[in-house]
């Protein structure tokens, strides 16, 4: 008689973390970059070293230049987000809940959604002037569509059983929207915010490359024009930090706003 041991056949499916590797990958990239720059394989004019970028960034903070650009960009982002996001949620709920709004809104959104929003920037400048409103408007447009479409989807996915339960306990239309539909749609709304954040950053940089004197987009373009590559790199790093921060912030916010999710 032989003993046939049972082996874990699913072992190779197990997912492991490899924390050291995660940190190492990022650190290794920066290190390799620094080494390449130090060895002088690439002229500093084209590839400034990470240490140089950090130093330049520090100098710009001390002089207040970086804060000034950052503040200008954040203001545009915030305004665009509030306007675009607000309208997006309102339109999404209306189109998702009311048949008439759906009949009107759905074809309109489907027709205008595929237009690349950057292409609308010249038009918006024509309409709203070259100042701040056109810049905020293009960001708002970029945020509006993912928010409206995600809210709409979230509203449509609301569990009909919960709607029925609410109605059985005497809830009328506005109660149902406020107490069932909106909380149901909240996870989708957050997904929309995340999509919108990516688009907003893209449009921000594009908008700040036209006729402005401030903002991270301006900083990047201007530094490029005068071949101040280190400064340009500082701008890019700040933009990527903005992207990372918004993602992290939205995750935190979502956990606070949706406490019922395990």
């Amino acid at each position: 008689m032989v003993r046939i041991p049972v082996e874990n056949r699913a072992r190779f499916l197990a997912h492991r973390e490899y924390r050291v590797l995660r940190v190492g990958a990022l650190g290794g990239l920066v290190l390799a970059w620094e080494i390449v720059a130090r060895l002088g394989w690439v002229p500093v004019l084209f590839l400034p070293s990470p240490v140089g970028v950090v130093g330049e960034g520090w100098d710009m903070i001390v002089s207040g230049e970086l804060q000034m650009h950052l503040a200008a960009s954040l203001e545009r982002l915030a305004l665009g987000f509030v306007v675009g996001g607000g309208f997006g949620v309102i339109v999404g709920v209306a189109v998702g809940f009311f048949s008439i709004a759906e009949a009107i809104g759905e074809p309109l959104i489907a027709a205008t959604f595929p237009v690349p929003k950057i292409a609308l920037l010249p038009l918006l400048i024509l309409w709203l002037g070259i100042g701040e409103p056109s810049k905020v408007a293009v960001i708002a447009l970029g945020v509006f569509f993912p928010m409206a479409i995600n809210t709409y989807t979230g509203v449509r996915q609301a569990d009909p059983l919960l709607v029925r339960a609410a109605v059985s306990f005497g809830a009328r239309r506005w109660s149902v929207i406020r107490k069932v539909i909106l909380p149901s749609a909240l996870p989708m709304i957050f997904a929309g915010l995340r999509l919108g954040a990516g688009t907003a950053l893209l449009l921000l940089v594009a908008a700040e490359m036209i006729a402005v004197e401030s903002g991270i987009g301006f900083l990047v373009l201007h530094a490029g024009n005068i071949m101040a590559t280190t400064k340009l790199m500082v701008g890019i790093v700040v933009l990527s930090l903005l992207g990372i921060l918004s993602h992290w912030g939205l995750n935190r916010l979502e956990r606070v706003a949706i406490p019922w999710r395990a």
């Binding site: 919960l162 109605v167 059985s168 306990f169 009328r172 109660s175 069932v180 949706i258 019922w260």
Partner: protein, 257 residues
């Protein structure tokens, strides 16, 4: 308050527009403080009937009405759902308060009122929990507390324990009976489980398979309060066997298509 179901028929239209009859001329009544079980094979339209009584569906013909004194701010009925249907974004306390909120009760009053039913259903200490943190049995307690809190004239229960495991179901049946002894609510209880129906109800209305019509009304001659030991009593066995013989023929037909 008395519930009267008068020659209710319901016809659904399927996707191709064919008419599918779900209920056929169902008449029944539930007296005040009576516990009536509505029993039938799956797909016999018993849930449809309960939804019609709740005012969540319209009958194709016939009518449902309540007889008795109208009390302001007191709903005629409230519903306990098979799938619990708790609001996942509300805590236990907030779920129980939902109906009171919709009735326009002031926050302090509804908190106190909800508190009574949280305690009655054995949920004390769980007020701040979210539904996903509770077991199935606890979730349905919330469903029952939410339905009782609005003080309905009639409590409508749609297979409330069928999503629970057998042991939990048994315990919850006993608890519901205990709650019923204390509140004497008029209850219309839908189930496909014969033992459950006989154990809990004063009267069992047996429906045929689709389209549902009333096959028989079986009074259960068991004393109150009911105990588990009664499940061996002759009256229990007799009633169960009688209902099973009615249902069996129906179930066979359903199996052979």
């Amino acid at each position: 308050m008395r519930v009267v179901i008068e020659r209710v028929s319901k016809v659904y239209a399927d996707r191709r527009g064919h008419e599918v009859p779900a209920l056929s001329e169902v008449s029944a009544a539930v007296a005040s403080e009576e516990f009536v079980a509505l029993l039938g094979p799956s797909g016999c339209g018993k849930s449809t009937l309960l939804n019609i009584v709740a005012g969540l569906l319209e009958p194709t013909s016939g009518a449902v009405y309540f007889e008795g004194e109208r009390t302001p701010n007191r709903p005629t009925s409230s519903f306990v759902f098979q799938e619990f249907a708790l609001f996942p974004w509300r805590t236990v306390q907030q779920n129980v308060e939902f109906g009171l909120e919709e009735a326009g009760m002031a926050p302090a009053a509804r908190a106190a009122e909800a508190r009574r039913f949280v305690e009655l259903t054995g949920l004390a200490g769980f007020e701040a929990k979210y539904p996903h943190q509770l077991s199935g049995g606890m979730r349905q307690r919330v469903g029952i507390a939410r339905a009782l809190a609005v003080d309905p004239a009639v409590l409508l229960m749609d297979e409330p324990f069928s999503a629970l495991d057998a042991q939990t179901r048994q315990l919850m049946q006993e608890e519901l009976l205990a709650i019923w002894e204390r509140t004497r609510k008029t209850i219309l209880y839908v189930t496909h489980n014969i033992q459950e129906a006989v154990y809990m109800a004063d009267r069992v209305v047996v429906l045929s398979r689709r389209p549902g019509r009333v096959l028989a009304e079986v009074p259960i001659a068991l004393a109150r309060p009911r105990t588990e030991a009664m499940m061996g009593a002759p009256a229990f066995v007799q009633a169960s066997e009688m209902i099973w013989s009615l249902i069996k023929a129906q179930a066979r037909e359903a199996l052979s298509g």
